[in-house]
Symmetry: C2
DNA sequence: TCGAAGTCCGAATGATTGTTCGGTAAAGTG
DNA sequence: CACTTTACCGAACAATCATTCGGACTTCGA
């Protein structure tokens, strides 16, 4: 039941496989829905028996939080990095939104699952970390936007930007005409007028 | 099992109660999630026994499609109305977005349920009508936007607008500072530059 | 007022499904 | 090579929950 190996040689493999399970789960959950996906389906989709999943996770819900963590943590980290670079405000905002859109696009399945199960976030100790990450990221975005757009009410602009970027997960297709960078630039253009 | 009364005097009451059940279901589903809500909980939340729900719907999934219909149909109808009025392009767009935001805000629960269960839309005969309504509305919005914003690539602007407006359901609170009209105008300002 | 139609009850049911667990094979370690 | 840890299997279990259904009560229409 979800016990990380002691032996160093196995630990790496364990971690790698665990991450693969998370990604695959995100893919299946995104397509079929979290509740409508049975553990058996999920296991079958990665050529495992149902019991095997419990080597990597204590249960279905932990799998869900893992998906959210795998989504939010690298984003928050990279965003902090970008804003530390200290370019001029508009360049910072553009860099942040580019990073963000790229992340959404690369983690489309994670995003869709996250949005589907948004109602779980509203309460429950288990979700504290995810809630905190989301809030922290939104604060970074708010500050970057405020600096790049000093006049006017930034509040609605921020909400609009959040809407655009998050919504991107719903329509973006890899073979589409727009690159993630072009999308991000388009969004920033809208928001900066 | 979901048989509409023959007698005129009862038909009205039946329809009224059915609508109330739909709205209440939207509320509970939005808060707890569709799959995580049991029929017993749902019935209890409206002081009914579980069996009573099957007077109005043949099953849980029909309740879900009813929520989507109750959301999409009046919107599509009113939108068509607004665009038929034939003002100048920008006024048309503003009117449409106002209508749209108001609708989202008044049917917040419906919207949240709709978004949660978006993955069901992707396939299944049962969802054809809902899919068609959504597509029809998006087409209206696209045309209105195109007319009001003749130069530039309207494609990304449309997607951005869809994102903003739909996302509104996630943060809007009745006691907030922004009125639906102010929100709508803010969105249009962003999109028209 | 009478019979039919409608409304709702709520316990029982049948199917589904998350999770457990005893066992087997494989791989690391000394 | 022993032997311990790790990886995985997959049938069985226990719990949950959508749906059914026979009946009690109410309202309508004539």
């Amino acid at each position: 039941m979800s016990v990380r190996p002691t032996r160093p040689a196995l630990r790496e493999r364990y971690d790698r496989r665990q991450e693969r399970v998370i990604s695959q789960a995100a893919k299946v959950f995104a397509k079929r829905g979290y509740d409508q996906t049975t553990m058996q389906e999920l296991a079958a989709s990665m050529d495992l028996a149902t019991g095997a999943l419990y080597h990597y996770f204590s249960g279905k819900e932990e799998l869900l939080t893992a998906i959210c963590d795998q989504l939010m943590e690298p984003l928050l980290e990279q965003a902090t990095e970008v804003l530390r670079a200290g370019q001029d405000p508009e360049a910072q905002l553009r860099a942040l939104v580019r990073l963000w859109v790229c992340h959404v696009v690369e983690h489309r399945d994670h995003m869709l699952v996250f949005q589907q199960e948004r109602h779980l976030l509203e309460s429950g100790e288990r979700w504290r970390k995810v809630r905190a990450s989301r809030k922290a990221f939104e604060r970074l975005a708010a500050e970057a936007l405020e600096r790049a757009r000093p006049r006017g009410d930034g509040h609605l602009a921020l909400l609009a930007l959040l809407g655009m970027v998050n919504h991107t997960a719903q329509w973006y297709r890899p073979r589409g005409e727009l690159t993630p960078e072009a999308i991000a630039d388009g969004y920033v253009d809208l928001v900066l007028g």
